[in-house]
Symmetry: C2
Subunit: 147 residues, 2 copies
Amino acid sequence: MLARDTVEVTRLPLCRVLLMKDRRFPWLVLVPERSGVREICELAPADRAALVEEIAQASEVMRLLFRPDKLNIGALGNLVPQLHVHVVARATSDSAWPGPVWGSGAPLPYTEDVLADLRRHLAHAFGPPQRTSWRSSLLARLRRPSP
Amino acid sequence: MLARDTVEVTRLPLCRVLLMKDRRFPWLVLVPERSGVREICELAPADRAALVEEIAQASEVMRLLFRPDKLNIGALGNLVPQLHVHVVARATSDSAWPGPVWGSGAPLPYTEDVLADLRRHLAHAFGPPQRTSWRSSLLARLRRPSP
């Protein structure tokens, strides 16, 4: 579900950062790369500390790019069990205000060029990816032609 | 609004812990005692680290007392600007599942004796209050008869 509804923006030390494909709201999703974790309290304390810093970083990126009236941060997971944290830039003029975005109507898609632009601006605001995950690094090694 | 809809359960190093007076959902609200702060990213890094630990502690208390199917954590603040974090114990059988609790129908009050019991059980699960806020300590000193 997350894979279908999002595109990847960047990778931070703990989380993959995804952008929700819904132009009604600037909406990021942080996914800690820890398998089998459903709740914040199941993360190790060091990962929790990293998570809150990455939430703050994503918040600053949203403020810089979208000047929101309010940020909405949420870890719900009622539909997608793997732990993920929503960081949503809200405007008092958006279609769900002052209610939550979750469960509010149907997503409106971006055009492909707007999505590509937005993704690039977001990635730039986060700075260079801070880590290669073991999975991508494994895949890269597997794909490398043998000597 | 928070004052009208909640009762205080305990105080942690950073946050006051409130219980929402809504028997549809076991629902805590953590309020960092930092005036003028609206967003997680406005807290100092040490306060952010304390906040995520207090979210984890509140999550464990909810798990212990309510055995939820899922926890929902949220910092929205669309209606009440002061930073506060919801920690809600969700059941797949609750009236809002799988939607969010925010904006979902009207609260159902606890009876006074149930509310008092619940508050006591929660306070016990959190352990003794870990701090006297400067405000209560100032008030206590002001109220003390002069020597």
